[in-house]
Symmetry: D2
Subunit: 355 residues, 4 copies
């Protein structure tokens, strides 16, 4: 559809194309006016063509999928490689892709935190402090740890971290809440965990269920704190509790902060309106209109806030599609920024999937 | 099944038998060893027998359902009447049932709050302050506003209020959290709203969706505060945010409080263990085992807690079935207490519905 | 995204834009390279802009929605009007749109059957036999009742009828099954019924449920028979049983026919392969790969077949998205054919919504 | 609750207590007035007490679960053992339980078919033709292969086979359909497959999906044919197609047969009424009232039928809970018959789980 200028399009590769983020990214690249899928890597689907596995038409459909061991060959000469792989795999694949001459957007957690945080939150010691040092962590509506236009390696934010940091940031920037005691109660669909075998991920166990998990131990806690620091909020602590929804896609976060004296509902709403102004993917709404069906399939962040001076609390809400704004869509957005393309290229006109 | 002693059984009536709480109550009465269904009232099902509408066997199945206008006649001479009706309807029906000589358990919100709270939270002025004054609000594991053994009118707690008050109370009694800044992030299945027509309640709009509603305006906010006051916690304020889950049954609440200096995870867990000790329907678990599938179909409350001294926060969890412990089951529990029956009569051996 | 040639684009209107088919059509028009949304009509959303209600960007977002009473004015001067309205409403609106000079694609059932079938299957007598006579019923992969390139009024097929007729037709054309005793067991998500209030459509009643409805009385029965007749299969009878799935989108039909002597599984599979050859939206698969997740969000029809000579039966499967190939997507496909555009214009590159 | 006569209760064991059928059976035994849980076996839960894993109260809760290798010891001296194990495991465990002196109800497929059918449908050669010869296959509302009151080994029917055979049998016995060309289109919730790991069983893959599986190859095909033969219908063939619903519990089957000349809707309805008469677990309904929510949690079979003389077809419907009437409930029903207890003992008063 978009291949009028395919000759001048940037040639991109996707490693880990069979995961949920990889699938979504493949769809988005296939419809992007300035990107052209030139390589796809997955052990699971190795040997097949992209069009055999995904409902994708056009040139991208005929790209043959190669095994992960052939990544270096597969991505040689490409302009950009997206890594949709687990953190440990990305640690190994990022240098291979960089060595092959490509710029990289890594969707894993391998380059999101300061080095000393890895043992506690990810359970391993980081083996590439050199690459970590130079990686540009970029959440476009909050901030970045470097100049993305020059970055060779961009670290794409996590899904929970995106929704959480943006909701908290809107209230902080608006002067509505203080820096102490921020609480983020987050709820996600099951695709946030990636493709999962295991009885606890089975339909019979999750349908009709709801529960918290990794309480006080989720690795997006320090990432939210880092994203807020990059957004000029300094060092602060947040309490983050993820819950598992009986649905496939979408994240809703409910953020509680201590209301600044003299502020109220009007200031909370104004903080949201100000925060979304001029940002193409952010939208303000009423609290009960911040719902998953309104964002699934799109790169949008739907946001709202209210406050109760009597109880001294402000509440912020943000909803995203965990696989789009929370992963593949934000990766495209970051790629657009890396190459000087319009920020919305390939991301507008997404038809959504509601209802 | 349990009718060996049907001759001596207490004769009970259910008004509003076609609603979700009424249906559940009907099932529970039918299997209760000391209660016998003698009357059922519902405009929707008037004229049918109970067994035509519900998968219920035995004597209860042949009770003929009468219209609401005939309530006084229908309940004349009964020992106990359960009202599963909207608050406005209960205001009218409670005096009729009392005048007919029955004791009453009202499952609506009509007698849960101090009179002056009704205009703000329920949108009407209470017309029966005399009855409200004498009503006994009873949440057995927290406290009651009078002596339930002598009460003519018992006000049964709301579903959210039950889960929320118990989770907060466990942490407060354990000295784990302070009285300031308590936040309750609650999530409920759709049956909590009762039988609903209306497009916004349709499957197409709710499946795959998740959102908050009645933010800062839900009528269970003051009820939670009252239940905590009745449990000797004095006057305190809570922030309560309900969300709508894409599932039918179950409530999970996540309660955040400010950690008392010197307390930590061990004290939080101990507070739960102490709170559940000796209470037949309360169970302690790990936070990620507090899940809806483990409580749906039962009168149980599954509870857990954790704490993070670094961030100064404690988190409590409670899960219930909104139609059982949150409505019909607690009503049976209250009826047992009213008549000096074992607290668990008719409520043990519930088979649950998981998975 | 597609507005490079917006100046030359066909100007289209959508009446009934707030229904599920209307929403989907709006999304599809907004991304179509040769169509431009110029008018939108809906009583429910009257006064708002399209972008206020739908996650749509670009020029389409700023179209102001007008009430249905203003349809004639709203569509005056347009090239094409899509009617996403109930059958009775279409009977009134089609002449208004034609009189205003526009060509029309009607997505309702108002122009799908011979006149004499309306009282039995739709419950009303058709008031516009003149328009019915000239209407072109068009299911592109099966056949049409006239020359769609010249048609002023095109009647777009029903969702069940599309999946059912195509699955049966593949086996009939392949000489695999006889014309007697064809049975179609169909299962649909809830959006097939449109936006619905009413307790029986509520989430609490449909989640966890499954049942048949309108057994032997569904109005798509004669439409399937007509579509097969238009595909040169002559007059035959099918038994059609619709069931309601606890999911929002997608239809799967299982078609049973009496196996022609000497035929078997190989011929059944070959019949599918032959049928899909050269048709851009049809795809062959194995029976257990014909699943809703693989088609939702796309205009595709996934098809399979098998046969059991021992029992003398062949089984065909077809899966579609009821809102895309079953409604809005096929309407776009028909519009493309009406105006000599490529059949796939605006329909390729649809990203799907799985998982 | 039911332990007044526990001294005289039959002592039973459950092997495979951690599977979905085992869990359900455990709940049913715990509330049965004449059965007492004396042993529980499961490798997965070995070492725990039953009450640690299941919401069960009373004496059953304190039974300690033993590993499968200790089955012989665990069941020594019991009156009855239920095997909720895979077919291959049952082949090994049945003789061990019989040798230990217990009577056995096997819920697996190991003793359901004639010996020669095992290689084709189960993929193994039966190693115990001696036990198979003497096993009593019993579907109480259809028939049995021997005298269940004297049987040492009872083979409990499969879930699909139960719903399918009963629906077909009602129409056959009523003289409504012929023996040729019977088609059974069946749809089941996910628990029918047991506890499953594996990505294809994950929530992300099944929610929103629907598909057929094991087309023309499902092992319940010959079991349905055998059940009909045992019900005096002689040797006939059925076509059976299972589909996977995005819900946890329940089976609905839609059965199509060729209408006998001169019969119609009235005869089809009468056939159902006659079939359910006097059978405590069978209920007649209208076709669109045969729904999963009405049977889940109960041992009931809800049935309906209609016919279309114009198309020469009759349609029958049956709905069951796959884990109750399709497994554990029917096993209790068979145990009741084995020991001369009332057929409904322990199975009436089941509260159901709808909504």
């Amino acid at each position: 559809m978009n291949n009028a200028s395919a000759a001048q399009a940037l040639r991109v590769g996707i490693v880990g194309v069979s995961g949920y983020s990889g699938v979504e990214l493949c769809r988005l690249v296939a419809r992007h006016p300035s990107l052209s899928l030139a390589a796809a890597v997955s052990d699971k689907w190795a040997g097949a063509e992209v069009g055999d596995r995904l409902p994708i038409d056009g040139a991208a459909a005929s790209v043959r999928i190669r095994p992960q061991a052939e990544t270096s060959d597969a991505v040689a000469g490409l302009d950009l490689v997206f890594l949709c792989t687990p953190a440990e795999a990305s640690l190994d694949l990022v240098p291979r892709a960089l060595d092959a001459g490509a710029r990289v957007v890594d969707l894993s957690g391998a380059f999101r935190l300061p080095m000393n945080e890895y043992p506690r939150w990810y359970g391993f010691t980081h083996t590439r402090p050199d690459l970590l040092e130079g990686a540009c962590y970029s959440m476009p509506e909050a901030g970045a740890s470097g100049d993305i236009r020059r970055a060779r390696l961009v670290s794409n934010p996590g899904c929970y971290a995106t929704a959480s940091a943006l909701a908290a940031l809107a209230l902080l920037r608006g002067g509505v809440i203080g820096r102490e005691g921020i609480i983020i109660d987050a709820k996600s669909g099951t695709t946030g965990a990636g493709r999962k075998a295991g009885e606890e991920w089975s339909f019979s166990e999750i349908d009709g269920d709801f529960r918290a998990y990794r309480v006080l131990r989720h690795q997006h806690t320090p990432e939210i704190e880092r994203a807020l620091a990059l957004a000029d909020q300094g060092a602060l602590r947040v309490t983050f509790t993820p819950h598992l929804l009986p649905t496939r896609r979408g994240i809703l976060v409910t953020v509680y902060g201590r209301l600044v004296e003299g502020r109220g509902a009007a200031e909370a709403e104004a903080a949201i309106r100000t925060f979304v102004a001029g940002r193409p993917f952010l939208r303000a709404a009423k609290p009960d209109a911040v719902r998953l069906q309104a964002v699934v399939g799109t790169n949008r962040v739907l946001m709202a806030a209210d406050a109760d001076p009597e109880r001294g609390v402000a509440i912020g809400f943000a909803a995203i599609d965990n696989l789009v704004k929370g992963a593949a869509g934000q990766a495209i957005q970051n790629a657009n920024l890396m190459f000087g393309l319009p920020e919305t290229a390939g991301l507008d006109g997404l038809p959504g999937s509601a209802p």
